[in-house]
């Protein structure tokens, strides 16, 4: 999408972000599992072509937020979603979820390839959607494997079972599989969570390679990783966005003390029960 085009309703609502178009955006997003609130009204824009990282302590709602963006959270019984999620200005929560997931791909915490060949895995989504002519299959296969920085390793064994690969390779095949359906947004839920440092490096390489072509939203526990791969950073705590902004700015000059503490040592000392001085309900956007 051209960033200089006329701002749509989404971008207009976010005048601070007006230079960058937001392909996706949440407004007042609330999610509850079996009556227990997990997200308390989250407003978060995702700039087109940018890598947005979400960090925060365990249980702060990062993964829930991510899974709500492609409505995977609906598969969990007892999940209730309120508020608004838009993609290109369209209402995500009221469109056909299958169509939404064709535009918003996802890479999971642990590689979850199917027990099929590498080729079948990568083309699974393409074939499932059935809108791509067969002639493009080979091109899509190679292209997405190259973008996921795995082509050289698997090009001679495309018809072997994908589950024989190492964990790191499998995770990059998962990325290729997601890229093959040419989504607008890719969600990544701690994609390096189960990988060794070397595989993590390769994975980050593939994330950086797709920057600009596709919008990436990544959840991670690894603060240095967020710094390495992301353009924008959101710090979440207890179902709220504490602060969101340009990654470098957030690391160098955060507006909230909690953000500084977390990014420095991964520890947060906000006591939400007693300390009302920190306003967690609104989004603090770093200038």
């Amino acid at each position: 999408m051209n960033p200089t085009m006329t701002p749509g309703p989404v971008a207009a609502a976010n005048h601070k972000e007006s230079l960058v178009n937001n392909v996706m955006e949440t407004r007042g997003l609330r999610v509850a599992y079996s009556g227990r609130d997990v997200l308390h009204g989250v407003d978060l824009p995702f700039g087109t072509g940018l890598v947005t990282a979400m960090v925060g302590p365990s249980g702060c709602g990062k993964t829930t937020l991510l899974r709500t963006l492609n409505r995977l959270s609906e598969l969990t019984p007892g999940c209730k979603v309120g508020g608004q999620v838009t993609i290109d200005g369209e209402d995500c929560l009221h469109m056909d979820p299958v169509l939404l997931r064709r535009r918003v791909g996802m890479v999971f915490q642990r590689p979850n390839l199917f027990p099929m060949s590498i080729r079948e895995n990568v083309l699974y989504g393409v074939k499932a959607q059935g809108t791509t002519p067969k002639e493009r299959y080979e091109e899509l296969l190679e292209g997405s494997l190259r973008k996921a920085v795995i082509w050289e390793e698997v090009k001679d064994r495309l018809d072997e079972c994908a589950l024989a690969l190492s964990g790191g390779q499998q995770q990059r095949i998962c990325i290729a599989r997601t890229l093959a359906v040419e989504p607008e947004v890719i969600l990544m839920d701690e994609p390096a969570g189960s990988l060794d440092p070397r595989s993590t490096g390769k994975l980050e390489e593939s994330i950086l390679a797709m920057r600009g072509d596709v919008t990436v939203v990544i959840v991670t526990h690894d603060v240095p990783q967020a710094r390495r791969v992301s353009d924008r950073l959101a710090f979440m705590y207890h179902g709220h966005i504490v602060e969101v902004g340009d990654t470098r700015q957030l690391f160098e000059n955060p507006a909230q003390d909690a953000t500084r503490e977390y990014l420095a040592g991964g520890l947060v000392t906000i006591n939400t029960e007693t300390d009302d001085s920190i306003d967690l309900s609104g989004v603090a956007v770093a200038e």
């Binding site: 492609n70 999971f108 099929m116 989504g125 994908a162």
Partner: protein, 464 residues
């Protein structure tokens, strides 16, 4: 074993005052050699008790053996108390039980009358199992005491719990299969596989062969599985993938279908045949239900067609396929399901490409079990089946090997086998049983190979 050998000298050296020196646990001191005694007695008792299953001659030693168990246990209790100061309560209880049992069994008459049992019972029926139980318990206890210094060795002590029932099972299996094989093989001739049982050219002479019974078994199996497969898999998919009230109702129905006694299926089928008796024998409905054969002038109605039998057998086996399909689908990892959904695949596509292949080994297991049940579902076709002498097709009288086994001796009056002397029937019965056994074992082996192939093909290195 080295642990025991190393432990033993320490134990010997420390037996001085009769009580354990402070700070040295029993486990560190090692076991006493005396534990070998109850072990030997226990194993001996086990062997004798197992032999008693097939031989009556062991009767005379059972009571002394029970008392021997009590004695050896008593000795170890005394020795253990002296060495370590520990009072071995389990051993005391066991010894007391053995003592009482030995004293009760000793004066029993060889044959037991009365006891509200209409008949007589040999005393080994009582004393044998007692000896088996006490011998097993004593052996287990003794091994546990022997391996007191080696925790992993303690697990070994539980071996008799598996060995005894397995031995009993294998003995039973070998005896039954051996009997069938020997009896069946004695009258088996190769031309039985190519001849159909029945009258030779309208005479009273009977041609002996199982061709139509074998073909009938295959036809019945094929039809039954054909009828049961799609509804079974469908019900399984529904129960697993669309949970809710309807799925619960379907689940309940399939369970209830299993709970119906097999004979009820047979009786219902007979009722249908009775209803069809009013029909002309050459109408389609009559052929469908009763079956028929062309005697040259007109269609003669029969007692029940292959299709009818297969439909009722399918009702019987459908729940098996449904349950195993459901189980297989539920065992699919959640990550895999989400992976498919997240790629924009519809539920139906994921079911076709991922979930059903994943469940294929389970579904195949269901089909194997269903097939085994159909091949042995005699109660369903009991009143429907005939000799099969008028050929095997969808609309002729149902028959299979199962029925041949039954009918050779107990078949209905008009069964052609009744033209054969009784002693021969018994032998032919065994031959039919042998053929059925070979056929089912053969089919099962093929199915198991397929299952392994499916597992590798559709689950990759993931094993569930």
């Amino acid at each position: 074993m080295t642990a025991i050998e190393q432990g033993a000298p320490v134990a010997r050296g420390s037996v001085t005052g009769g009580h354990a020196p402070a700070g040295l646990t029993e486990a560190r001191r090692g076991p006493a050699r005396i534990e070998i005694l109850p072990l030997a007695a226990g194993v001996l008792a086990l062997v004798v008790a197992l032999v008693t299953v097939v031989v009556n001659g062991t009767d005379i030693v059972i009571s002394p053996l029970t008392l021997l168990l009590a004695a050896t246990l008593g000795i170890t209790v005394v020795v253990r108390r002296a060495r370590t100061g520990v009072l071995d309560r389990p051993a005391i209880v066991l010894a007391a039980l053995a003592l009482v049992a030995g004293l009760v069994v000793l004066p029993l008459p060889t044959w037991l009358y009365g006891m509200d049992v209409n008949g007589i019972v040999h005393r080994t029926v009582v004393s044998g199992p007692i000896l088996l139980l006490l011998g097993t318990a004593t052996a287990i206890l003794a091994v546990r005491r022997l391996f007191v210094a080696s925790p992993s060795g303690q697990d070994l002590a539980l071996a008799p719990l598996f060995v005894v029932p397995i031995t009993l099972g294998v003995i039973g299996f070998v005896v039954i299969l051996g009997k069938i094989a020997v009896d069946g093989a004695s009258t088996f001739r190769l031309d039985m596989l190519t001849t159909a049982w029945g009258h030779v050219d309208g005479t009273d002479k009977i041609a002996i062969g199982y061709l139509n019974n074998i073909l009938g078994t295959f036809l019945l199996l094929g039809l039954t599985l054909g009828f049961a497969f799609l509804p079974g898999v469908g019900a399984g998919v529904f129960m697993s993938e669309y949970p809710g009230r309807v799925a619960r109702v379907i689940g309940f129905c399939t369970t209830m279908l299993r709970a119906i006694a097999i004979f009820i299926f047979g009786a219902t089928a007979v009722g249908l045949v009775r209803l069809a008796n009013g029909l002309d024998s050459d109408t389609f409905l009559s052929l469908l239900i009763r079956g028929g054969w062309d005697d040259g002038t007109r269609i003669q109605a029969q007692k029940g067609s292959f299709v009818l039998a297969a439909i009722f057998l399918a009702l019987l086996v459908m729940p098996v396929i449904a349950r195993l399909t459901e189980e297989g689908l539920r065992s699919a990892p959640r990550e895999m399901r989400e992976g498919s959904v997240a790629l924009g695949a519809t539920d139906g596509y994921g079911l076709r490409r991922i979930l059903l292949p994943w469940a294929a080994p389970n579904i195949l297991t269901g089909v194997i079990l269903a097939g085994a049940e159909a091949a042995g579902g005699l109660a369903v076709i009991w009143f429907l089946a005939g000799t099969g002498e008028h050929g095997v097709n969808l609309f002729t009288n149902v028959t299979d090997l199962d029925f041949a086994v039954f009918a050779a001796k107990y078949g209905p009056r008009d069964y052609a086998l009744n033209a054969v002397p009784e002693y021969q029937m018994l032998q032919y019965q065994a031959t039919a049983a042998l053929l059925l056994m070979v056929l089912t074992i053969g089919l099962t082996v093929i199915a198991m190979l397929l299952q392994r192939h499916f597992s590798r093909r559709y689950r990759g290195s993931i094993t569930a």
